[in-house]
Symmetry: C2
Subunit: 162 residues, 2 copies
Amino acid sequence: MLEINDAFNSDHNHDHCVSGALDNAKAICQENGQRLTPIRELVLRLVWGSHKPLGAYELLPALAEAGFNSAPPTVYRALDFLHQLGLIHKIGSLNAFVGCSNPEHPHPSAFMICTECKTAAEIETSELQASFNRVANSHGFQLEEENIELLGLCKDCLGSES
Amino acid sequence: MLEINDAFNSDHNHDHCVSGALDNAKAICQENGQRLTPIRELVLRLVWGSHKPLGAYELLPALAEAGFNSAPPTVYRALDFLHQLGLIHKIGSLNAFVGCSNPEHPHPSAFMICTECKTAAEIETSELQASFNRVANSHGFQLEEENIELLGLCKDCLGSES
DNA sequence: CAATTATTGTTATATTATAACAATACATTT
DNA sequence: AAATGTATTGTTATAATATAACAATAATTG
Ligand SMILES: [Zn+2]
Ligand SMILES: [Zn+2]
Ligand SMILES: [Zn+2]
Ligand SMILES: [Zn+2]
């Protein structure tokens, strides 16, 4: 059962993604005794504005519009906070951030990323996990974190090629 | 048969890695009608100085010492050249580059990376490939490139913990 | 040799990220 | 509520990573 979020389904109700993410964030902050301050919530909303990973500097204008300080440390602090709680992932090859679809269950960062429309869809890795563990174990490597990026063309972009 | 290079074997003869990499580079440049100029060869040697990924700016001093121009574009051009021929990989989460152990056979970038000693050991992904293809196919995704990073502690660093 | 192309040199700038410290807001104790 | 300590945000400066643009040189081709 390989699951994925709805990122590549252009018909999905994205408001559900956002409201779900906000609900998750509130619950997780609660559990961890952390505060989802206005800045943090705004940054989370902005990151969840779409399923396309956003760079830190792309968030600054919206912070300014909302009346907050919009210097880099402000947004990086919020991103670090959200990242540490597992509410967002960082896509290393893009230097960009995207919302986590399932923060209630901590898991590695694993995405299919469309190089055309830039959409990043999170992959459920439980099946892959066995393979990774086998590779690691066979070399005495203690696996602690994973960054998995599958790059290519999503269904929609394949369909609309020249 | 999961294979790996000798990166995590501290006893390995690293001169073999370097000379092999140089031989491969010369052959591949030949086949592709490209020139392994002195700058490009030096950058490749520097990247192969160890199995620890190096940032572009870490290479500049050595370029200067060797009498070359040592401005960023020089090293980025050489890195881009080597990357396009598959002679080196870029580790996205580190913004750093490491030599490819098997450039004769183009393949995705896949590494185990020790967060303690910084060594990056390339993983043979043919077994994982089936899983990745299955995930991609099941979502109509046309897989074109992969960046796989497994982070953790290598055998040696596990053994010498406090 | 002349013309063309590839490579390198050079200067400037764009992009991404963090350090350091001050000011404010929040929480806790009295 | 006032005092205290902690967490968060504001602010300025700078570090680290990467590219744009054009000039100069070297290599290749005709
Ligand atoms: Zn959505
Ligand atoms: Zn996630
Ligand atoms: Zn070696
Ligand atoms: Zn390789």
